[in-house]
Amino acid sequence: MRISGRAHVFGDDVNTDYIIAARYRDKALNLKEFAQHAMEDLDPEFSRKVQPGDFVVAGRNFGLGSSREWAPRVLKELRVGGVIARGFARIFFRNAINAGLPAVEADTSGIQAGDELELDLERGKLLNKTQGHELSVAPLPPVMIRILRDGGLVEHFKKYGDFQVF
């Protein structure tokens, strides 16, 4: 699985209230409209700027806070190709994979806004085409690779009717 796009860079501790703010919760039944507010308090232009395949790049503890699966789903709705962070809060990480949104850990400290990136999940590599170097990404546990390859947990269950993860 290879994904290419530009980096949108954020800092540490991007919590779920930053990813999708509380005051928009009543729009949740219309995902397209709801997703327009993704990352709004950090970057009001994000939903307008982001192109299909682009990456959300962040520091430590991305996604801390709520278990609401809207957080990865609004990013997916905007066709974000993946989230790359130095570290993830565990509920968000699991939700992202379940929603079919690649979430990988790597040392993002050198990535600049606008860098052209290519993520190769099979090889576990992140190529920074703009800066001309390659990073390793932390491998996902096999169960998560399986779910991601199927396109998410719902797709996995549609296919198998149960967990086929071992």
Partner: protein
């Protein structure tokens, strides 16, 4: 080699001899959802196309985040949940019953040694009574509702030895704020917090819920405690089932042991805009506040309301300050009405809201204005958390919130005791 509480529960529920780091597929004892995310849960369950849930008796929904709904969109989200539960024969605790975490355990739906998941990050609250209980998202919920199972990576455990007893005017909320500040928001990512020692043993079960509740704020998967005599007594009359507590082995292997002497702890505050931005209340004493909140799954139980009432009795909230109270459950409200606690709070000037999450997740129940400071007994103070990114939230114990409401500024509760 001995096992931690987390290793033992996940071993029992997966039928394997599981150790930290293993991936297991485990049988769930209970699966719950809440109104604010319920519509997504149900949409994904229907997309999986399986029809009936695995066992309606092991499921419930609680309407707590929008209690009651204040616009048609939120009402529709709740309607979706009610319709689904009716079709499936699943119990609904509707608006006014209270917050999922206290309500479900109070009604005896699960107990010590059980494995429970809920679509709210504070599902870890139940760890205080020896339940492996953790927050999950809608896809995991939907798969659980189909299969009755979930896969887990067995977490390593950080053991907290909490020594001594909390001094007067300092509560379990101050202790957990201190721990979150010390460990950091990602201090226990992917790990289980196992908490014990004299400080835990000497506090009430209600006080222990506050600590397990905020395990997630350290990044922990669960916040587990032993089921001692106090826990067994708490369950008496609540659940018809025999209790099956799980003890950690004396030779269990811990990733880390953190020792804390609580006997000199002062009241603590989490300052804007991070839960781990913790320091002694004395550092921010005198900061003006406009709104004060007592409630939530962290600190809305009867004992919390009583702690606030002890400070407010015979006194009045400062003019210009809004003190808002949301009891965590109908039980807390009713008992508080019987013993005069609610009367005391109202006579002091509190506004009484229905049992539910209230302003904590920023949907309803008291949104602050631009530039306002809120002092709150809740669990998160991220920017915009209470519905306005231009307000600031300080987290504290119910007693500190009450004292601050009296003065109109952050105040030390010990002066009022």
């Amino acid at each position: 080699m001995g096992k931690t509480i987390a290793e033992k529960i996940l071993s029992a529920k997966s039928g394997r001899d599981a150790k930290a780091g293993d991936i297991v597929l485990a049988q769930l004892d209970f699966v719950y959802g809440v109104d604010s995310i319920g519509s997504l849960n149900i949409q994904l369950f229907k997309e999986m196309g399986r029809g009936r849930v695995f066992d309606p008796a092991r499921c419930a929904f609680v309407m707590d985040h929008m209690a009651p709904a204040h616009n048609a969109s939120y009402a529709r989200m709740q309607q979706i949940v009610r319709e689904f539960c009716q079709e499936q024969g699943i119990r609904v605790y509707d608006v006014g019953e209270g917050i999922s975490h206290p309500v479900l355990i109070e009604h005896g739906h699960f107990g010590p040694g059980d494995l429970v998941v809920g679509t709210d990050s504070h599902t870890c609250t139940n760890g205080a009574v020896n339940v492996f209980s953790t927050g999950v998202g809608s896809s995991d919920w939907a798969a659980a509702m189909v299969s009755g199972k979930m896969w887990f990576r067995v977490p390593e455990t950080v053991r907290f030895e909490l020594r001594g007893r909390l001094p007067r005017g300092t509560y379990s909320k101050d202790l957990v704020l201190y721990l979150v500040g010390r460990m950091g928001a990602d201090g226990l990512t992917y790990q289980s917090a196992e908490l014990g020692g004299e400080a835990v043993e000497s506090m009430s079960v209600e006080a222990r819920f506050t600590i397990s509740n905020m395990a997630i704020e350290m990044g922990a998967k669960v916040g587990l405690m032993r089921a001692d005599a106090k826990v067994r007594e708490w369950f008496a009359g609540r659940s018809g089932r025999p209790l099956r507590p799980v003890e950690p082995d004396p030779d269990a292997r811990y990733a880390r042991v953190v020792e804390v002497d609580v006997s000199r702890l002062e009241p603590q505050v989490a300052k804007p805009h991070r839960v781990d931005n913790v320091g002694p209340l004395s550092e921010v004493e005198g900061t003006p506040i406009h709104q004060a909140f007592i409630g939530t799954c962290t600190n809305g139980r009867l004992e919390d309301l009583r702690e606030a009432a002890a400070i407010l009795r015979g006194r009045r909230v400062r003019e210009g300050v809004r003190l808002i109270v949301n009891p965590a459950s109908r039980e807390a409200l009713v008992e508080g009405m019987k013993d005069g606690t609610i009367q005391t709070l109202i006579e002091a000037g509190a506004l009484l809201n229905p049992p539910g999450c209230g302003m904590c997740p920023g949907i309803t129940g008291g949104i602050p204005a631009d530039g306002e400071n809120v002092i709150s007994a809740s669990n998160r103070n991220f920017k915009g958390r209470m519905g306005n990114p231009n307000a600031s939230i300080y987290l504290a114990s119910p007693a500190s919130v009450a004292a601050s409401a009296l003065e109109g500024r952050i105040a030390d509760p010990r002066r009022y005791l």
